[in-house]
Amino acid sequence: MMANPTTEALFLIKDVKPGSKNLNIVFIVLEIGRVTKTKDGHEVRSCKVADKSGSIAISVWDELGSLIQAGDIIRLTRGYASIWKGCLTLYTGRGGDLQKIGEFCMVYSEVPNFSEPNPDLQAQSNQQNKSGKPDQNPRGNSPPNQNSGTSAPPGNGTMQPFVNSNNNNNPPPGATRDSSFGPTGRPNGRSPGNGAPPPVTATGAPAATKPSVTISNGRDPRRAKR
């Protein structure tokens, strides 16, 4: 194995835990979520990505998010993982990057989906936030729940996004992405100025939900009887 800084400690998705840092992962993009705009004008997309060990959600900001396409093989460097609305999510960290290194030719497993909502993870994350973990990332690259003091007004960093037990906020199977926003149009438990979007349905909902992007080719392969 080359002593290349970017290939050191190449992680598998299954090894990603909340609070993991300095993650170098190669994955293939399965689905791109819809764009959502943050209050400070940034665009965020939540994408479903996978490697041979499973799938996970990653949040990508702005230009990179608009360039990513399903089928892209991407190397994440210096990423980190955190809980967003009860779901384990990847982010690009400070000094980190997303680089497209190929497309199509990578085998993956969609299951297990490590971004499935997990109430234990949520509780764990509540604890972390209380302890006031230091900011890991510059503005725009971090989710608001990292005490990052992003574009949010001062004092926002202590806000707990999960205060409102987001378990109840998980979209039911087959629901549209918009459903995670309350009827007021503002997401529950999120403070004003907190711009990060909810995860796409495919990652936030139980595995039984069909992927949100489907082209039907009218043919379901029969499983080989071997």
Partner: protein, 437 residues
């Protein structure tokens, strides 16, 4: 730190890239070589530059390579100096330009889709110059360039390429006919492409293609005959074009008019078409993706790959003609090892089933079926391979329960063709080889 972009990356001059793309090593290397050439010749007169470059080239293999690749890259990226850069390259090269040809091949096979417009234009210009200079290996480069013309693709870039490569062939006819293989490949390519060019907007291009193919078929028939039975398939697809109709009359009733060695249609139909031809109508990217699917993707896991492939190559009405090329490729070129066959890797019949069931028109569907069964029609165990006919029987077999309609139309199709002997041979062979358990 800027939230919106990754590390700012200067745009290279060879390839299109975004802030998402990783640096391209070939582009970096070539641009480094340009830097070397420029540093050697900066501010010098033309004569002094030549001396400086010559001196450097003599220093060793690495310096020779640096200068040649630098000049090559300048040809591609600086059109105003291209003539001069090319001339210098031909004078300075000590390996018959082999190092440059290798890089051209790499660009064609790996980077063609990402070339900037100027570079692509220049690359075609360069290939034409290589042909005119009689550089050894230019025919191979031209064949690789032809391979980049995508079937079923109506984009202006692709049409431009089709037309410009054809212009080189027309321009350099004397050189062309010295290579029987190139003649055959070119005829195979343009007989296939003219199917896509039947719209009014493209009539001029199509007429050029027709004239070219007819002239090659009538003047170098035996070179073309090497193609074998797929030549007949291609000619069938364009039989309505007046000049082709006339050719068919000779094929059927007056074969000697085409060549004294040509005994008739059967001679073509009983000759299996070489994989070279079946593969030449897939671009490298299509091949890479299909080969990946048939060698690494497990059965049951193919849905997304199919979606992505379909979205890229099969999403328009005009692109349906590509299915036949893909099916012929899978039947004739993809012959998995026994190890893969006995694993749970996506089998060929499943891919073909997908290609058949996603046809969006009846014409496309019937052409696709013919493509699938083509090797059955005149199957002869001594000359043909079981691997060419195996997918068809398995598509039918596996479709019987979930998609009885498929099996029915395929069987119907087979029986209507008046080629019972070939079909009989195929079935017999399949039974002997126990393709069906």
């Amino acid at each position: 730190m800027e939230p919106s972009s990754a590390k700012a990356k200067p745009q290279g001059r060879l390839l299109v890239s975004t802030s998402l793309d990783a640096k391209d090593e070939l582009e970096e290397k070539l641009e480094r070589c340009v830097g070397i050439v420029q540093s050697l010749t900066n501010g010098l007169s033309e004569r002094e530059s030549n001396d400086a470059l010559t001196a450097n080239v003599c220093k060793g293999q690495q310096q020779h390579e640096d200068v040649c690749l630098g000049l090559f890259c300048l040809v591609l990226t600086d059109p105003s100096q291209a003539q001069r850069s090319y001339r210098d390259l031909t004078l300075l090269s000590r390996d018959g330009m082999n190092g440059v040809l290798v890089k051209i091949n790499q660009i064609l096979m790996e980077k063609f889709l990402k070339l900037q417009d100027v570079s692509r234009t220049q690359l075609v210009w360069l290939v034409r110059e290589l042909v005119k200079s009689g550089v050894m290996g230019a025919d191979g480069v031209l064949m690789t360039l032809m391979k980049q013309i995508a079937g079923g693709d109506m984009s202006s870039k692709n049409l431009w390429l089709a037309e410009n490569v054809l212009d080189v062939l027309l321009d350099q006819k004397e050189w062309l006919v010295k290579s029987a293989m190139l003649v055959a490949m070119a005829v195979y390519t343009y007989l296939r492409l003219m199917v896509d060019h039947g719209t009014t907007a493209l009539l001029v291009l199509r007429q050029k293609e027709v004239d070219f193919c007819i002239s090659m078929l009538r003047e170098r028939f035996m070179d073309c005959a090497v193609i074998g039975r797929d030549l007949v398939r291609l000619l069938q697809n364009v039989a309505r074009i007046p000049e082709m109709e006339l050719l068919w009359k000779d094929l059927l009733h007056n074969p000697a008019a085409l060549s004294p060695q040509f005994t008739g249609l059967l001679q073509l139909l009983t000759a299996r078409t070489s994989r070279k031809f079946l593969a030449c109508r897939l671009t490298p990217d299509m091949e890479t993706k299909l080969l990946f699917m048939t060698s690494r993707v497990r059965f049951g896991q193919q849905k997304r790959y199919q979606e992505w492939f379909q979205r890229q190559y099969l999403s328009t009405a005009e692109s349906q003609s590509l299915r036949c090329d893909l099916i012929r490729y899978i039947c004739g070129v993809v012959h998995p090892s026994n190890e893969v066959l006995s694993s749970d890797i996506l089998p060929r019949w499943a891919i073909i089933g997908w290609l058949l069931t996603t046809c969006t028109s009846n014409v496309a569907a019937s052409n696709a079926k013919l493509a699938l069964f083509y090797d059955w029609l005149f199957f002869s165990p001594e000359k043909d391979s079981i691997m060419n006919i195996e997918p068809a029987i398995l598509v039918m077999h596996h479709s019987m329960k979930p998609h009885p309609a498929i099996t029915a139309t395929l069987l119907d199709f087979m029986c209507r063709t008046q080629v019972r002997q070939g079909v009989f041979n195929s079935l017999t062979f399949i039974m002997e080889k126990r393709v069906l358990a």
